[in-house]
């Protein structure tokens, strides 16, 4: 029996692109898009970049035009939160009540991990949604005496860069020996550290946060695990995200650091998942992964939507080469592929010293990743080689 209706839970990047894909594929049944936030679907990458910098108004970050949204003819329920699901009876519970659903697509994304014990202290922020970005921006505009950024991952790095552009003093605290060492490898992590230092960030590595001190409910200093105390009135915590799966506990779906799907993004009969919340075996890399990247949310959202319209026999595996970018200072950093500590690394164009280069990662004789600093075209061309299964040696020798 053809599918009658599809409920999409999570009205952000993966959700909206999924809905568009359903209509593009000619699905003319009922589509319900449910989102906990009251804003129309918006794009997150600008939050730590142009929005935080103050160079973009928030009306520039919409993911669709209101007119396009009308054309999609969907039942859009904003400010509504899904609270439970039961696979057997197919009952979806939301803050609006219960409903029996046909197809279900889970795109509830992720939220920021917080610093234990500091959640309620004024002046301690995380950055995931628009409201948080606007609150943080107002704090930056008020002129804090110092910003402490906890975590030198991509979000932390972008916040630090945006603060430096505002000429604010920044101290960045990273528990690992090098920023992003686990993602990019030690050598490339060292390049990231150098970029921050060159832009005047006081970078402290290999040290954690012991506690946040406050007076009258407002942060006054951050105490590190080595005993150092940093005087500050503003803290931004960027220590990773957790997938929003609590509402699916006990649903009958498998939840394990995300909604666990098969290789085709199917999580259960008539249920798929996509975006930051989804975990699936990517056959191309022989690895079960959950990818927190913008482009993945789009591609996977489209795939998971189409999967709901496809029979098991015709279903295709989802096996992309993950890709993301990050803008920090005047650097555009891009990584494609899957990099592990211990991969071979070879710089193929430019130099590390200039912070303008492309570096290839190889494992077992194959090209598995490419990192670019201000080398967008190169990254995309090597990404195509990863997709084609090019050997590490051939990739190094290639003219790009």
């Amino acid at each position: 029996m053809p599918r009658q209706s599809i409920h999409v839970v999570g009205a952000s990047l993966a959700g909206i692109r999924a809905v568009e894909a359903l209509r593009r594929r000619g699905f003319d049944g009922r589509i319900v898009l449910i989102g906990a936030e009251s804003h129309l679907p918006y794009d997150r990458p600008p939050l730590s970049k142009q929005v935080l910098a103050g160079s973009w108004d928030t009306d520039r970050i919409h993911l669709t035009k209101p007119q396009t949204l009308d054309e999609l003819a969907i039942d859009l329920r904003l400010g509504v939160r899904a609270t439970g699901f039961d696979l057997e009876s197919r009952t979806l519970s939301t803050s609006d009540g219960d409903e029996v659903v046909d197809g279900l697509l889970v795109t509830t994304g992720a939220r920021c991990r917080t610093l234990p014990g500091a959640e309620t202290i004024g002046g301690v922020h995380v950055l995931r949604d628009l409201d948080q970005a606007l609150t943080l921006r107002a704090e930056l505009e008020a002129g804090p005496r110092r910003v402490v950024v906890v975590g030198a991952g991509f979000i932390g790095a972008e916040v630090a860069a945006t603060c430096r552009a505002r000429e604010l003093d920044v101290t960045m605290v990273e528990a690992l020996p090098t920023p992003l060492g686990r993602v990019l490898g030690e050598r490339m992590g060292e390049v990231c550290a150098e970029v921050h230092r060159r832009h005047g960030v006081d970078l402290r590595t290999n040290v954690g946060v012991d506690r946040v001190e406050a007076e009258r409910g407002r942060v006054t200093s951050v105490v590190l695990t080595d005993g150092t105390e940093i005087d500050t009135d503003l803290v931004v915590v960027g220590i990773g995200v957790v997938p929003n799966t609590e509402w699916l506990e006990g649903s009958g779906l498998t939840i394990d650091n995300g909604v666990v799907c098969d290789a085709t993004m199917l999580a259960g009969p008539g249920v798929t998942a996509a975006g930051d919340v989804a975990r699936w075996p990517n056959h191309r890399f022989d690895e079960v992964m959950r990818v927190e990247h913008w482009d993945n949310a789009i591609e996977q959202g489209v795939h998971a939507a189409e999967r709901l319209l496809t029979s098991d026999a015709e279903a295709q595996p989802f096996a992309p080469v993950p890709w993301f970018w990050s803008d920090q200072y005047d650097r555009k950093i891009q990584l494609a592929g899957r990099v592990r500590p211990g991969d071979e690394v070879e710089v193929v164009t430019g130099t590390l010293e200039d912070h303008r280069f492309a570096a290839l990662y190889g494992r077992e004789g194959k090209l598995v990743g490419v990192l670019g600093f201000n080398r967008p075209r190169h990254v995309m061309q090597y990404k195509t080689m990863i997709e084609n299964g090019t050997s590490f040696a051939d990739a190094i020798a290639a003219e790009v």
């Binding site: 568009e20 794009d43 482009d295 789009i298 201000n374 967008p376 075209r377 995309m380």
Partner: protein
């Protein structure tokens, strides 16, 4: 159909070039060049994919 790129937004990350190398090209100077401003109507689906996948929403289609 006409391809319009807002070059103030474009950051030359070449996603569009990966999808449609016959229409978009990022050259060694790191700028994007539109090789064919008027792709055939039959190519609309691929052009719409470029519009969607551009991280900067820099591409639009005009009739």
């Amino acid at each position: 159909m006409k391809i319009v790129v807002d070059f103030d937004l474009c950051e030359s990350n070449a996603i569009c070039m990966q999808i449609a190398p016959d229409v978009f090209e990022v050259r060694d100077d790191d700028f994007l060049y539109v090789l064919n401003e008027h792709p055939d109507e039959g190519d609309r689906a691929r052009m719409e994919e470029c519009v969607q996948r551009c991280p900067k929403q820099a591409i639009s289609l005009e009739d």
